[in-house]
């Protein structure tokens, strides 16, 4: 009994001491914290869990950044916010980044977070589509230009002529058979389709990375100017973000709780199972079991040139920017 009490007292003492240290140290750090802002492409779903958990757990502060995450969504374009300086860092697709760079925007990729393309085409087996050639002559739902690069390259590769139908953010058109093939993100729409009562076995899926069309997606971008002015801040942001992602994968429960809280705050309807699915897929995309030669956050020249050539081939860019002028290596020291 006495021992237990003693132990309790010791614990309390340690806790108080630690608290004192933190209180004393924090202001000192606070002075040194650099303000920075970040805009993800979309709402605070599990697709960005690594950044939000990093903020929540003080990982950015630990790296000396007083970070503000601007809530993304349909009303905000991260590329615009990045170029007009409202956001210091932005999450963009690699294809978007290359397009912007080729279009003269002085932006840099400082981390390729996703190693694998999550974009996919999905069709109902009931519509008779089981192989790429079955898509010929069918109605295919496609999103905006960025999301059309891979599908169009895919059609070209297999010599398909399709009837493109602009696809909204819902999958209802596909579910009601308004289109035969729909675009989907593996971590999002694909699961939504499953959760509308369609069995995985009833679907045919075309993952682009399985058809030599791997276009890695989400990466971290910064203005060249920002990078030149404060490369340490950029490095700190990338390292903190990678640490955030690692934390999210190691503590999915916490990451999901933060995600759910943020989504509810924005009144965005979602379900825990959907966010859980998304976080699990993010791990598959960020830390793929096969490949991932670039290391976490790294961009392989091969991936870069594939995407850039893809863009050029359909005329979205005229010339391919130099890899080294586009990508600045910032490595997690743990990686080495």
């Amino acid at each position: 009994m006495v021992n237990v009490k003693m132990r309790e007292k010791c614990k309390l003492l340690i806790a108080v001491t630690l608290f004192m240290i933190i209180v004393c140290v924090a202001p000192a750090e606070g002075d040194a914290l650099k303000k920075a802002s970040f805009i993800p492409q979309w709402v605070p779903q599990a697709q960005f869990a690594g950044y939000y958990i990093g903020l929540e757990k003080g990982i950015y502060r630990k790296h000396g950044i007083d970070l503000t995450i601007i809530t993304g969504g349909p009303d905000y374009s991260p590329s615009e916010l990045l170029t007009d300086g409202r956001a210091d860092f932005a999450s963009l697709w690699l294809s978007t980044g290359i397009q912007m760079r080729a279009g003269g925007e002085k932006i840099l990729n400082i981390a390729q977070i996703m190693q694998r393309s999550a974009l996919m085409l999905v069709a109902k087996k009931a519509s008779g589509i089981e192989r790429p050639r079955d898509i010929n002559g069918r109605k295919v739902g496609l999103w905006g230009p960025v999301f059309q690069i891979q599908p169009r390259a895919f059609f070209k590769k297999y010599g398909l002529t399709v009837q493109v139908v602009p696809q909204s953010f819902s999958v209802n058109l596909f579910l009601r058979d308004g289109v035969d093939v729909a675009s989907a993100m593996w971590y999002n729409e694909y699961h939504t389709i499953l959760n509308c009562g369609i069995e995985p076995g009833e679907l045919t899926t075309f993952f682009f990375h399985e058809h030599d069309l791997n276009f890695p997606e989400d990466g971290i971008y910064v203005l060249e100017e920002t990078y030149r002015r404060d490369p340490a801040l950029c490095a700190a942001f990338v390292l903190a973000s990678i640490e955030g992602w690692r934390y999210a994968f190691d503590h999915p429960g916490e990451a999901l709780a933060v995600t759910m809280r943020n989504l509810q705050k924005e009144h965005i309807p979602t379900t825990l199972v959907h966010q859980k699915w998304m976080l699990e897929r993010m791990k598959d995309l960020i830390l793929p079991e096969k490949g991932g030669d670039a290391g976490m956050g790294g961009l392989l020249p091969a991936d870069y040139s594939r995407v850039a050539r893809g863009l050029r081939s359909i005329g979205l860019i005229e010339s391919v920017p130099r890899f080294t002028s586009f990508y600045k290596v910032i490595r997690d020291s743990d990686e080495k």
Binding site: P166, S168, L173, G197, P269, T271, H274
Partner: protein, 641 residues
Amino acid sequence: MKNRGLAFKLILLVLSSVTLIFLLIFGYNYMYSRKIIIENVEKNAMNLARATVNQIDIVLTSIEKVPENLAYVLGRSLCAGEELNDLLKYIVQNNKEIYGSTVAFEPRAYDGEKERYAPYFYKSGDEIKYSDLGTASYQYFFQDWYQIPKELNRPVWTEPYFDEGGGNIIMSTYSVPFYRTVEGKKGIAGIITSDISLSWLQEIVASIKIAKTGYGFLISQNGTFVTHPKKELVMNETIFSQAEARGDEELRRIGREMIHGESGFVPFRSILTGKLCWMVYAPLSSSKWSLGVLFPQDELMADVVRLNKIVIILGVLGFVFLLLVIVFIARSITRPLSVLAGAAEDIATGNLDVAIPEIKTGDEVGKLAQSFDYMKTSLKQYIADLTETTAAKERIESELQIAHDIQMGILPKIFPPFPDMPEFDLYATIEPAREVGGDLFDFFFLDDEHLCFNVGDVSGKGVPASLFMAITKTLIKTRATKGMTPEIVLNQVNQDLSEDNPSLLFVTLFLGTLNIKDGTLEYCNGGHNPPYIIRASGEIEAVEMTGGIALGVMEDFSFQSKRVVLNKGDAIFIYSDGVTEAMNSKLELFSEKRLEGELDRLKGLPVGDIIAGVMEKIHEFSQDEPQTDDITMLIIQYNGS
């Protein structure tokens, strides 16, 4: 079980049988009432689901008519501008269910110029407001309400959605494509919509209350909850996301049946309460949404369960009552039986005066007690009688012993009888089968030269025979006097015996006189076994018969004597039939042959040893077999004068 008491066996067997019967009846009753309830629930559930679905469908189909009619009108006239606006305003104003309505045109379909145009009228408080949805930011061409009917070329109900402007009410839009023929080519011109609030629908479904916790819910074509008592599910989760969250494959299967427009009645675990329910589901024919109604099993079964509880309590009470009754009955049987058993033990120790408890039940136990008492009394009487009889028998036995002593007393018993007479040796013995016998032997001198001797055998045994023997012996002694020949003696004795013989007894008799001077033996045989003469030379011969019959049978019978001469060393051996008819356990007789053999073996020995030898052989032969007849032997050896 084997060694347990009667009460225990009764309780065990009766109660286990009763329990089994009770459980069978109870189980059947439960299963049957449950079946009836389920059948009723299914019937009522289907009716309720159909009625509710119809109620909703009537409203939805009436709403469908409005844009459908407008589509017909717009397909035939170029209604535009204020005219179109008035029409839309009128529709919104005069259809209370319709919240808003628009006609969204295909590019340039409105006036040949505008890329997009969609005049929209909607209720806002009491006012009807206008806005044009054809803005660059809204992009109505890519909205579900526009795109789906356009691609499918048919009217559709959109998935329910939250109206962000109108105070978070759930809405759904009915969209109807309309077509115009331009330059001879019929093509889609736009989409006409009616937005409706689903509040009324939610109210209808929410008003479904089954028992305490039963409820109804509605899911859209995607499986999204449109109404559900659990608010956080509504417009957020699908039945499939719930199935995934719960890892419930069955829920997913039911969800698929629901969105595929099927109806059914299935067991279902409530998402709200977790209780096991029955669920009926049926589709709306208009929007293809599906209504589910949950019937909590335990609440619907509450009456049956309560009834069953009462039945079980009654059963248990009955069980206890039966137990007490059996214990009482068993006691009423076993208590007197235990008392009787105690009394029986007392009696077994010889105490016949023990009191038999009075049992007035009149049943089998009462009869047993009566019989037991009667048995005790009889036993007591019997023992008293036995004691008396034993005493009487002992008295008779003692008297018989005296008679035996007397009978033996009248027979000569000193051997050698005439030690001073060297002319002959004589030895005799008698062994009666009972205390007193019917055999006799005697010898005495008629004068100085003639020795009279006889051996007889009275018919029958016991006291009468012994008395007759005594009479015979006395008569012979009386009649055999000096100068009498054996035939005279036998004739006279025969007459005496025959004269007064009420018992019709008779006696075989061999009587002889031996002249001790010359060895002449005169004899007369009255139906007796012929004696043997054992010659000094070793030959053994039977004495020749004299043709006489037993004495006491024929009064006038005339006996004849015969003579034979005994030489020195010759002997005559006379015996009664007790010798030759002695039996062994194999019912074999000792027989003349064995006797002759024995005599041959023993010849030459002193007379006493010959008799003893024969007697020993007879005992040896018959072993433990009881003696049936008196055994008498007499031997006289003539030694010369």
